[in-house]
Symmetry: C2
Subunit: 151 residues, 2 copies
DNA sequence: AGCTTTCGTAACCAGGGAAGTTGCGAGGGA
DNA sequence: TCCCTCGCAACTTCCCTGGTTACGAAAGCT
């Protein structure tokens, strides 16, 4: 339980939902992600609030995509799951009057900010449709080399 | 997850040590960092093992710089404190046979790897001497504008 | 109406990692 | 010898994500 897996999980489930007809229940999604329904609802709440998915109660209810995968970027999902902190590394203390600390923070935070900007730019440039396409490619490739006994 | 402050802390203390004549005890360093001596020794152990600082026991003992600040980069210090994980974000599960998961991981990990490479490159390009110089600049600047009442 | 399904949410526990704390031992100078 | 200072192990504390339980609300089915 160390790394924040919410982004990856939501990407995974969104792609599955695209290939899935009709609503998927939290229960079904939970089984796909090897977790449990409450965690699914908790995490998907952000996506719902941002309008990427819809949820419906009662018989035949569950989760459905509200947008085309082409209109959802990794960055959108990252934001929808609450923009979790990107880095583990951080400043020691906010030592206001300490000039050494200021110089250190300026250097570290500067590098961190650059790396974060790059990361988010990459996230913003990839849509879920791209991931789905990559999945298709892998799928076709896996079928192509039909393992006779051991994959 | 709480932020790992070891890198920033060690940068801070190394610059201080450069401006400090004679050994600095863990006690003194702990006061500078607003922490306690055991944490200082624990964190500095890595720097000592990598040969960036030396420690000596007994009267007049303490920590001394073993290298010029120009020969120490942020990357060196990052490595010396144990190369803590850079990112909080991580993959959901290693789902070997799951192609969706593979596609997701490829995209996320790829972006993460790029960002990490950039970050470490930046760290590698900055020496402690650069930080010290930045500190000097800030110091001179602060003296220059002598705030009469409010900065 | 009543039952069942499914989401919504609060409340709590579990696990992991950094930091903080305590205690004792080792080494070196006065 | 005595005191200072590091070395290190063990324990506690704190925060955060994930897992679990419990109950309520909405919506369909009979
Ligand atoms: S559960 Fe991930 S590919 Fe189906
Ligand atoms: S404690 Fe002196 S500048 Fe940081």
């Amino acid at each position: 339980m160390r790394r924040d897996a919410r982004l990856s999980r939501m990407l995974h489930v969104l792609i599955h939902m695209d290939r899935h007809d009709g609503p998927a229940t939290s229960e079904v999604i939970a089984r796909m992600l090897a977790t449990n329904p409450v965690v699914v609802r908790r995490t998907m709440a952000g996506l719902r609030d941002q309008g990427f998915v819809r949820s419906e109660k009662g018989h035949g209810g569950g989760w459905t995509l509200a947008r085309d995968l082409r209109e959802i970027t990794l960055l959108d999902v990252y934001r929808a799951v609450g923009r979790p902190p990107v880095f583990v590394l951080g400043p020691a203390i906010d030592h206001p009057g300490c000039l050494v600390e200021q110089a250190v923070n300026a250097a570290v935070d500067g590098a961190l900010a650059e790396a974060e900007a790059l990361l988010l730019a990459r996230f913003g440039a990839v849509t879920l449709a791209d991931l789905a396409r990559d999945f298709d490619r892998r799928f076709a490739e896996a079928k192509g080399r039909r393992p006779p006994a051991a994959g």
